[in-house]
Subunit: 492 residues, 2 copies
Amino acid sequence: MAKGLVKRSEDFSKWYNELVVMADLAENSGVRGCMVIKPYGYAIWEKMQAQLDKMFKETGHQNAYFPLFVPKSLFEAEEKNAEGFAKECAVVTHYRLKTDPNNPTKLIVDPEAKLEEELVVRPTSEAIIWNTYKGWIQSYRDLPILINQWANVVRWEMRTRLFLRTAEFLWQEGHTAHETKQEALEETARMLDVYATFTKDYMAMPVVKGYKTENERFAGAEDTYCIEALMQDGKALQAGTSHFLGQNFAKAFDVKFADKEGKQEYVWATSWGVSTRLIGALIMCHSDDFGLVLPPKLAPIQVAIVPIYKGDEQLAQVNEVAFKIKEELIASGISVKYDNDDNRKPGWKFAEYEMKGVPARIAIGQRDIENGTVEVARRDTLTKEIVSRENLTAYIVNLMEEIQISLFNRNQEFVNEKTTFVDSWEAFQETIKNKGGFVSAHWDGTSETELKIKEATKATIRCIPFDQEDEDGVCVFSGNPSKRRVLFAKAY
Amino acid sequence: MAKGLVKRSEDFSKWYNELVVMADLAENSGVRGCMVIKPYGYAIWEKMQAQLDKMFKETGHQNAYFPLFVPKSLFEAEEKNAEGFAKECAVVTHYRLKTDPNNPTKLIVDPEAKLEEELVVRPTSEAIIWNTYKGWIQSYRDLPILINQWANVVRWEMRTRLFLRTAEFLWQEGHTAHETKQEALEETARMLDVYATFTKDYMAMPVVKGYKTENERFAGAEDTYCIEALMQDGKALQAGTSHFLGQNFAKAFDVKFADKEGKQEYVWATSWGVSTRLIGALIMCHSDDFGLVLPPKLAPIQVAIVPIYKGDEQLAQVNEVAFKIKEELIASGISVKYDNDDNRKPGWKFAEYEMKGVPARIAIGQRDIENGTVEVARRDTLTKEIVSRENLTAYIVNLMEEIQISLFNRNQEFVNEKTTFVDSWEAFQETIKNKGGFVSAHWDGTSETELKIKEATKATIRCIPFDQEDEDGVCVFSGNPSKRRVLFAKAY
């Protein structure tokens, strides 16, 4: 294990907190509940953004930007949405500071600069966006509107954790407007698919797609679709959501369109989002006691090259070879860091790139140069291999693909192993308590039962999986009849 | 001129306001002083961001993200900076809303959720960032720190205009930390050069590089470098600034490092930024009475293809040719929109793409197909040419370069023509009043004179140009001796 990093088996939660800081991803700031995303962590976010943005554009969406502030009167217009977020709202009440008359080096809020109407810092942008769409939509010709926004949002949280739950976080929020219910439902499903493809193919993280129960739905949605992933400690993590909003926001903001027959109809809506929380998921599903493990497609550095040498002459020789290798790899689309910093020993560098989750490390020493070889270490398996210089680029390109797939498969096996079908309340409790993971069980479909199960076990219904087949059974808790299984788990 | 768009010569300010809305770039929102950046406007910002981000990375910078909120006690630590921004601060005082007991459909600020310390919504991030850097810097080995942030900031403005002056705007802010004064000064100059290269090569907008006078300096800076551009109405616009912050923030936040001899020294700082204001500049320096004129390097659509046809049969023939052309152009890196919407007439489309500033428009009709030609219209000159299908792609690639350069040259000529050297107070007043533009004049170096000139003419010192040679003279206002000319203008 890495120096100073607690083992996952000892204290998973502490391991996560330490790892985020030791891998230089993020840190707590001087502002309660807000994080600083450090360059290495932000580079992962940039890679996520670039890929998601591409996928959004390929599915016909455009980016735009809407105001940070939502006037209270707009915020409260959609009642359920307002109710759901009211308790977490940062509120701007004044627009000026002035010098403290009692202490000229200090500032106070100027009581004369009180806003007539308070401004909510957006916890989500449905209200401000639907108030805007009202001006954009007159006829069916103005539809669909397919817009995404990359932005910061604020939800006041009492207990925060880096990436997983912070008062301010970065995200994207898609907000679309449609002529028909069917179209909006298709959009909701399409964007959940985009998220699932992204988490699988880029994060190497398998997810279960499904519906949320009414209790777990987004405030203001008619239906919430979600992708749920499983972390190494057996707890689930909601990785993305896509909401079918029905006509709720159109009604709250009076957004109607003239259909082809000239009839006035309310517009149908969706919204969907993923956030910097995905970085937390990425960390917790792959990393180990030595540090981060990153899938090649999202790793800011894919290959680190470390020279092994004594004295300037040997270093000069290694430099020559290493720069050539670096150049070749870069030409093949691999991102490379050659670390010939003379102040650090190779052992320190090895540990450093393990901590940072760099997928492959190449070490080059005097003997390697003589033999025309290098040593390649894989971060995911911690195995090493001697590779001929000639085949190196092809080997690395191939290795990146192999690691990407291998991480996904390892995770999929873990999820399979940690998904348990139970048919009794005893087995349910026992599994949630000792084994963790997803528990597939019959549920009677009532909120009452759902909440009682949560009270008794802390497990919630993560989703009603899309691919769950109908099956007659009885609810594990109430014994009442049930038509299908749902997925329970303790969750982040 | 375009339908409904007022002429520049009639009312430049109104022309700008109308154009921003008619070209679908942005609009005012339901939130006082905040704008909605619409997809077409945001696409320009994305192009600007992509290029600037590349240039920042090429000069060794990394992106990171710091909190939106600055606790008041941190905000006030650097006194001049705090004083400079105090009057424009949006302040968060509460973290919860609750149902209005007198009206259950309304929300009120929960008085029990008052923050112990108020949070300022960042107007700029020096305070929060230097409070963070304190934890990152111990030794000279930790320096330099070269970080940029893409973010939203809020400066409460009483009079706002889309892009040019809004309460919330998008920008990037670089914040760097250095061992020596010399290094920090070099960084300040380097980033101003990056901005000048960007405005010239991408925006096709010539700028003058120079120093700000003490009056016009960034609050908390030792020196502010700027680039100043000239708009078509003869008013100047500050397009970007780069600040040498000395050790002011290091002292305010007690950020010291151990140098190579182990001695504790304060860190040297710079910060630099450009914002969505650049979109306002881009509009005002190139566009005409028909609408936007965009330089090809920043145009979201570089070529619009419009079919001219009667009936489905002709359309099918044109479609075939047009899709081929589109494909060829895209393969050559040109962004193309083929608009075969049957609901709009060609004339409407021509006006639309003129309004949107698409650099080139290709029209294809029946006769063109027979002759193996197309008609190409240039947006900047409004000229048309018949071009053979065979040479079309090469012609368009070349045309994009030509338009890019031509726009710059046209603007440079305009700036030259609108830069007047004056040596008397009468000529100064007369030039500012009637001709506008930059006025190069001797100034005695005192703030008193600067402010009196501003009071009398509304002209401010835009900058002391870098390339201004020393020259003995007398101040146009006071008659006192002066060592060099400075650049005056009325400004946005």
